[in-house]
């Protein structure tokens, strides 16, 4: 099956500055998180795949078609740019309907699509206010609305959660997840790891214009064998459990967390560790309240990779 987005040896320079270097990857349906610090090349990548800038080397294909100057392709793409820029003198409704007009929809279709998008981002009550008077969160949601209003198959969101309050953040994350359930392709960029983690496990790590790793979070962790893994366990007898762990060479460190019934275990072999856990609980009659893996987030992987 042809991947939705196919990128071959993509490179781009801005004068002497490297924007993106020799990136080859394929993106399928579902949510893909593009993760990297500011200036890593995320926006350059997104601009290249949406045809806003040309690559110096390499090619981009969306649904098997070239992107540059292929304007009809944009019927299937929704793009939410990073910059907080709007036609400020318009109302939210005018902004959305005006942009929908560029898809050559009929008047009733424009109204239907605009209404639906505003409902989704929960801006309907404020649709007749001018954009200038919107809060940052409302502006950001309007930006997302213009990307989804024409019901695209591919949604590309450049830092969509930037500067949002927690409530707005949650709304947009929920919206993105809904899109995934509809079988669409979503690419979300961010420099904040928990944001991406809240949306997807499928990530692309980008830094200094290069792809560091791609895959799901566990796959990426498997790439980093030496990187220790931390597991927090809350149970009825943490001291007993700790004594059982230290008998195994793949357990590197055990710490008790002060003031509660938890312990923090550091291991260099995740699979063996999780394979052992159930038998220990059962054989020694230890009641488990909670097992979490605070280390199993993108921040740990990212910090480790960048540090290499």
């Amino acid at each position: 099956m042809t991947p939705v987005i196919q990128v071959q040896n993509l490179s781009r320079w801005y004068g002497n500055v490297l924007g993106l270097s020799d990136v080859t990857l394929e993106i399928d349906a579902g949510i893909t998180g593009l993760l990297g610090p500011n200036g890593a090349g995320k926006s350059t990548f997104l601009k290249l795949i949406t045809g806003q800038i040309k690559p110096n080397i390499g090619s981009v294909a969306i649904s098997g078609q070239k992107v540059k100057n292929n304007y009809s392709l944009f019927r299937t793409i929704g793009f939410c740019p990073e910059q907080d820029a709007y036609y400020d003198e318009l109302t939210g409704w005018q902004f959305l309907t005006g942009l929908l007009r560029l898809y050559h929809f009929s008047e009733p279709e424009i109204v239907r699509h605009a209404q639906k998008a505003l409902d989704i981002v929960e801006l309907t009550p404020d649709k007749d206010r001018i954009i200038k008077s919107y809060s940052r969160g409302m502006r950001q949601r309007l930006k997302v609305a213009q990307a989804i209003a024409h019901e695209p198959e591919i949604l590309i969101l450049d830092e969509p959660l930037n500067g949002l309050d927690p409530l707005s953040r949650r709304k947009i994350i929920r919206l993105i997840k809904t899109y995934k359930q509809e079988g669409k392709t979503i690419i979300v960029s961010s420099h904040v790891l928990p944001e991406i983690e809240a949306m997807t496990q499928k990530i692309i790590l980008i830094h200094q214009g290069k792809i560091f790793a791609e895959g799901d979070i566990h796959y990426i962790r498997d790439l980093i064998e030496k990187h220790p893994h931390i597991v927090s366990i809350r149970c009825s007898d943490p001291r007993k459990l700790a004594s059982l762990f230290i008998a195994h060479d793949f357990v590197l460190k055990v710490n008790f967390l002060a003031g509660n019934d938890s312990l923090l275990v550091e291991t260099n072999n995740r699979d063996k560790f999780f394979g052992l856990l159930p038998s220990l609980f059962v054989e020694h009659n230890i009641e488990v309240f909670e097992i979490t893996s605070p280390d199993d987030n993108l921040q740990a992987v990212f910090d480790y990779l960048i540090g290499q």
Partner: protein
Amino acid sequence: MKYLWDSVWDVFHFFFSLGRRARKAKVFYLISFLPVVLAGIFKFSQIFTGEPHFEGIYIFSNMIMGFYLQFLILILALFYGTSVCSEELEGKTLTYLTTRPVPKPAIILGKYVAYTALVILMVVFGFVFSFLILNVNDLLNFSLYKILLRNMAVLVLGLICYTAFFTLIGTFLKRSIMFGLIFSFGWENVIQYFPGSTQRFAIVHYLKSLLPAQVSEGFAFLLFRLEPTPPWLAVLILFLITGVFLTVACLIFSWQEYILQD
């Protein structure tokens, strides 16, 4: 081709509506109505003093030469023409247009048509009102309306041509306003008085060639050394260069890569 024109229409629709609401439009509407205020002051002073120094059409012709042709249409065309491209870059809104299923030339042409229509409306309202005020005692003299229409056609042609030129400038120059000011009040103002064929390198030469010969003594210097081009040829050239300006603007906009700075 139909898709291109449909896209031009859609872009036009969006930006005509946006342009009408913009704060900039309000400022320029006010400037465009200055001649109406001046005409009103002049007419009132005539009525109150009872001294009809000049005929209305005489004042009107001076107004066209002095204010409209040498100032207003240049300023309007400059600010609206250059903004076709530059306002999208400065406002970082270009992405909203280039990620729609719209050919790039349609963005330029649609915005150009929208803004040209706006500036024509601005000029025509003030122009007609000042004509009516200045000739309020002679409104049944239908020969005056011929002069009105001809002058109006010249200004409209001027706006069409200048806006196309400044649209082109805006697609590739960062400091397009600065260049435009130098062009408008430098080049156009100087070259038009050069003898021989040199004056044909100024757009205003063709516009002046189309004006009815009604210029008063006070502003006669504006027609100094004018060696008029035949009206049919002047119209042809104005349309031709407009077409060239717009074609090149569309080509540049399609080719050029605009990086929106954060």
